[in-house]
Structures are given as structure tokens and as C-alpha cells.
Symmetry: C4
Subunit: 221 residues, 4 copies
Amino acid sequence: MRARTSQGRPADAAVARGAEALVDCIQRFHARGLCDGTGGNFSLVLEREPLQMLVTRSGSDKGRLGARDLVLVGADGRPCDLADGAPSNETPLHVAIAQATGAGAVLHTHSVWGTLVSEHFRSAGGFRIGGYEMIKGLAGVRSHEDAVFVPIVANLQDRVALATIVVGVLEAHRAARGLLVAGHGLYAWGRDLDEARRHVEVHEFLLQLAGRRLPLVRFEG
Amino acid sequence: MRARTSQGRPADAAVARGAEALVDCIQRFHARGLCDGTGGNFSLVLEREPLQMLVTRSGSDKGRLGARDLVLVGADGRPCDLADGAPSNETPLHVAIAQATGAGAVLHTHSVWGTLVSEHFRSAGGFRIGGYEMIKGLAGVRSHEDAVFVPIVANLQDRVALATIVVGVLEAHRAARGLLVAGHGLYAWGRDLDEARRHVEVHEFLLQLAGRRLPLVRFEG
Amino acid sequence: MRARTSQGRPADAAVARGAEALVDCIQRFHARGLCDGTGGNFSLVLEREPLQMLVTRSGSDKGRLGARDLVLVGADGRPCDLADGAPSNETPLHVAIAQATGAGAVLHTHSVWGTLVSEHFRSAGGFRIGGYEMIKGLAGVRSHEDAVFVPIVANLQDRVALATIVVGVLEAHRAARGLLVAGHGLYAWGRDLDEARRHVEVHEFLLQLAGRRLPLVRFEG
Amino acid sequence: MRARTSQGRPADAAVARGAEALVDCIQRFHARGLCDGTGGNFSLVLEREPLQMLVTRSGSDKGRLGARDLVLVGADGRPCDLADGAPSNETPLHVAIAQATGAGAVLHTHSVWGTLVSEHFRSAGGFRIGGYEMIKGLAGVRSHEDAVFVPIVANLQDRVALATIVVGVLEAHRAARGLLVAGHGLYAWGRDLDEARRHVEVHEFLLQLAGRRLPLVRFEG
């Protein structure tokens, strides 16, 4: 997707291909109940220097999403073309995560288990999970004996302030491939859309597992 | 949908469009297990002055619903055309909610979690829920720090009496976008069908979350 | 479906219509996880005097079922045409329930919640459930204030002996529209296939509700 | 599928038929959440003497799997054609199970309930389950009064060493039709793909049942 027009905007074909892949991913998540209502927002990086990414439109219904509901934004989180309307109000987090991690896609889901677990471990600032083969689905994990720490940050309606906090947390937890915003949901990312989607599936599996275990045993926070 | 025939009945095209959208919404809910058996009933306002709304037929199977299973009723809850047969016996609640709130659609679902939670908090007359980003999917909520109160009313087979009680509860809880009938299910509404559907998804998410949390912690009623 | 050939066998068209409707019902149940593996069996009455009914073939895979997997049997539970192969080994229960209740269809599902709840209340011989609007989906129930008793019988591999016990239980509980075989699953029936399917949906909803409530409160057995 | 080319490789048509059936099975499992992310791997025996089997490619996305993602391997677990790329790194377990049991297909799923239950009973080396009609879906079980023992082995990233341990466990538990790798998932097998798929469905049902019962009663380990 390196083709560029003379104006610095990615070529229309690259935008269209990216939009199609992102919409397909979101529809698959919606069918699994990961972005009910207007919950969740999603982005795909099309250009790095300077940053340009597609982000879901503010308040769009994820069950009926189409390419028309994606907005191309720059590194300032503003739409490249004002006629496109407003991107998600969580765009500052997408931009910050893409820049801090070099991710090619950032996916934010709202699941019941993610919400419940984020609340349970909120005061600990995150939770450590290991001993499961599933964690090998995260880039950089080589053995089930490894453990990953999933950071949890408090929710803030000031998304710019929240993005700043998230960048600090990511610097402290460089192995993280996802993080929870407490009472809100999961952000996961990857070097491309396929890896990001896999990271969402792995985290959502672990969140459900952690949540279902809570009534049984004290979880090794 | 303002086009009207000389008889005061909405134009056929407006009825057909509304019916198509309502049927699509119901089929999506049925696929998610929100209206099993003959559970649930649904309405869409076509005219305000005087009120005319489409309501699902009494006892219709929501998994096989078509436009033929919708009945046009007036402000008295009676079919505009007797040949259409009987609307849901919960039509008085649909009319009352549409008039009390100005809603353009009223959607009533039967979920396991809604039933369980409605029973748990019945004696408290409702439950307060806040601190979750998901509540921002409700019209009028600006921050996850807000809290919403979901009223619960006792179930009554006398639907006219039940409707009167519901109107009183709505006057006392003007910010509510949904309410539970104990041991029965959720009513949610919105200014149009899209908003009402979103309000159902948000409430059902919160009900599942509240229900799954019950074994873990005392819920802040 | 009263059309009969001179041989006393229902007309081919009646068999084909019945088979199509029954297969559609089973496929919908399978998609919801109600008959995994070879679990579950299903029947539809085509003739009353003498009894002739379609029953699913022994060991058939419910996820790939077709009309070829249905066997026409008589009141003795044996295939009308030996070339059709063997019907389900639970055919004696289908015949017994159809004759004892006058049902037009008998549907037997295997759900996790049904299995769990049947085990929990086994020693009590059943469980009473009331106060839920959903029970109005059962024929004969007029108010949520009614209660229904769902009988539970011990499982027996001798299906003829089990059928005899079931007939006794049905005589003692004439209002029942379903019963559980402990550690095994639900039988529900209705005057026709639509009512039987609705009775399955209502019972499975109540079984899930009862099961999810178990960790929360003592259930009013 | 006995047709062979002169080179000892199964005929292309046999490979294509096998691949189609295996891909269909995997897609059905993925739709049910049994192989999220890159979780799970699957194999089908095409030849016995010497062993040749199709195995899913390493790291393939089970939600988008096609015949191109299957690799034909021999008894040494290596691809018959190096151009096919690398099979799953769990291929040694597939080969070992196929040889130890004579299975025609070996299916490995990752479910939340399987992971949770495998961890709970890990120290006991497995768990016994009986009294459920569902166990009759396992080859060799004649009555619900029988019980089956589902062995659990510790997870090892050294798949060759793990395969050796699994062979020893299978010799000690000849009636087993499935086993759990702790914190990892289920392996189930059958004389052909249909039986193996049924054995997965039966085990996953029992794992969910066992997991949901844990908060209620002490499980008869």
C-alpha cells in the first residue's frame, strides 16, 4: 500500500483495499458480540511517514458498517478531508498506540468478559496470565510457560489525556500486545490487520477464561 | 414517513418501509436469542398526531416473522383495520411508552440475563449502574462516570393497569431509556428505530454484565 | 395430511411436507447447540388411527440431517418399510408420549443446561418453576403467576421400560408440556410441530435460567 | 481412498476429497469458537502403510482456512513435498495418536471450558465422567451408566517428548477417545473424520458441563 498520489494521500485503490479488509474484520467481531451498540472502534494504518490511518466514524453502528463509515485521518487525528465527517472520539488512542508500537492496525472491542475482568483487576493496574498455550498466539511469546501482563488503565473521557497515559503504560510494558481501559474494553494491535485480529481473539479468549475462573479460585493477579 | 393518505392512514409505501426495517431488527434480535418462543414484541411509530404504530401480532413466532405479522394500531391500541387481526396483548405498554417518552420505536426483549437480573433487584424497584463506557450508548449520557437507573416494575397480566404503572415510573425516571418488567423482560425505546435498537443492545450488555458479576461481588444496588 | 394411499400409508406428498418441516426444525436446533454429536431425536405424527410417525434414524448426525434420515414407524415403533433402516432407539418414548398426550410432534434435545439442571433436581423427581412471563409460552398457562412442574425421570437404557415410566409420570402431571430424563435431556411436545418447537424453546430458556440461578440462591424446588 | 499413484502418494482426487471434508469440519469448529486465533490443528489419514496424513499448516488462521493450508506428511511428520511448507508444530502428536489408536482423523481444539477444566483436574492426571447419556456418543460406550476417564497430560513445547508421553497415556487408557493437554486443549480422534468430529462434540459438551458444575458441587474427580 505504498502507492501515493502527488498530494501525499494514499492511492484510492490502497484505501479501498484497506477499507474492505477492515470492514470485514469489524463485521466478524460484531457477529461475535464484541462491539454491540456503537461500542468499539477500529483503525488501519495506510501510511507511516507521515502517519495516515483509516478510523471508524464516530457513533457508527458496527452491525451495518461499510467503507463509508471509515475516515482517513493524519497524525493529528484530524480527518484528511473535512467532508468525511468526524472520526471516533477515541482516535487519539489509535494514533498514540500506532505511533508508540509501530502497529499497522489497532482494534478496540467491548466484551462483557473484558469489562468484568478490567474492573476486577483495576486496582492492581493489570493482571498477569501465563501457563496457557493460547498466549503463544501473541507475537513474541514462544512458550506457554511465559506469562504476559495485560495492563489496565483508568477510563477518562478526555481522550487526549488518556492517550498520554496509555503511551506511558506501553513504555513500561513493551511486551504487551493489548491493554484494557477499565470498565470500557480492550485495545489490541499488531504489525498488520491479521496479527491485530489474532491478538484480539487471543486476549478475548484469555479474558473469558480469567472471568470464568474468578468464582473458582483466587486468580494469580 | 409524513406522507398520508386522505383517510389519515400512512401511505402504503411508508408502512412498507417501516415494516421492512422493523422485521429486520426483530430477526437480528431472534438470531441472538433475545425473543425465543413467542417472547418479545416490537413497535414502530408511523404517525404522531394522531398516534399510529405498527405492533407485532399476538403470539407470532419471531423466528419466522414477516410484514404480515405486523398490525397498524391507533392511540387506543386497537387495529386500524379489523381484518389485520389482534396485535400483541402488550400493545398498551407500547402505546403508553411511545406517548410518555415521544419514542419512535419501542422494543421488548426476553433474555435469560434480563429475567435473572430483574428478579434479583425486584424488591429495590430497579438498579443503578455506572462506571462503564457502554452506558454512553444511551442517549443523554455523556460520561462513563454517569450512572443510570434501570427501573423494575412488577409484572401484571392486566396490561392496561401495567401500562399506567409504567407511565408513573417513567415520570419519576425521565433519564431512563429502558425498564424491566420483573420476571418478564426489557422494554427499551428511542427516538427512532436505530436508537431504540442501540438502547436494547446497551441494556442487554449491561444486564449480562450485572448478572455475571452477581456471584463475584455484592452489586452496588 | 389426512390424504392416505390405499395401503394405509400417508400419501407421499404428506410425508415429504412433514419431513421438510421436521428437518428444518432440527437444523435450527442444531445451530443453537441443542443436539450436538448424535444427541437428540425428533418425531412428527402423520396419522393417528393407526399411529404413523416420522422418527429420526438411529445415530444420525443432526448437523447434516436430511429427509433420508427420517424413518416412518407405526404404533409398535417398527419401520413401516424395513428398507428404511432402524429408527432412533428412543422411538418407544416418542410413540408413548404421542399416544399419552395426543401430541403431533415430540422433540428431544440435549443441552448442557438441561443436563445440569436435570441432575441437580433429580432426587426431587422434578422442579417447579413459576413467576416468569416465559411460561405463558406453554399451552394452557394463562398467567406468569402460574407455576409449572417439570418432571424428571431416571435414565434407563431399556427404552421400553423407560417409556412405561414416562407414561405413568405424564398421567400424574397432565399439565406438563415437557419432561427431563436425568443426565440425558429434554422431551417436549405439542399439538403440532410449531407448538412443540415453541415448547422446546420455552423449556430450554427456563432450564438455562434455573441453571444460572443455582449459584445465586437456593432454588424453590 | 485406497487409490495410489505409482509414487506411493495418494491419488490427487483422494487428497482433494479429504482436504475438502477436513476444511469443512474445521470451519464448522471455528464458527463455534473452538479454534480462535491460530489455535487448534487438525489431521486426516489418507494412507496407512506407510502413514500419510493431511495436517493443517503451522500458524494458519482457522477462520479463513482453505485446502492450500493443508500439508501432506509422512510417518516422520515431515512434508512429503517440501514446497508445501511446514505443517503444524504439533504434527508429532497427530502422527503418534494416529499410530497408537489406528485413528483415521485427529482433531485438536482450544475451548475456554477445555482449558479451564484441564487446569482444574491437572494434578489428578485426568477426570472421570459418567452417568450422562451424552457419553454414548463415544465409540465403545453402551450405557450412560458407564464412565469414561479423560486423561490430562502436562503441556510441553518439546512436541516430540510430549508425543511420547501421550503414547504412554494412551496405552494405559485404551478406552479413551480424547485427552486434554493441560492449559492447552483437547485432542480427540475417531476411526474416520465423522467419528472424530462426533468425539470432539461429545467431549466439548462434557467439558462445558463439568466446568459449569464446578461452582455448584465438588466434582467426582
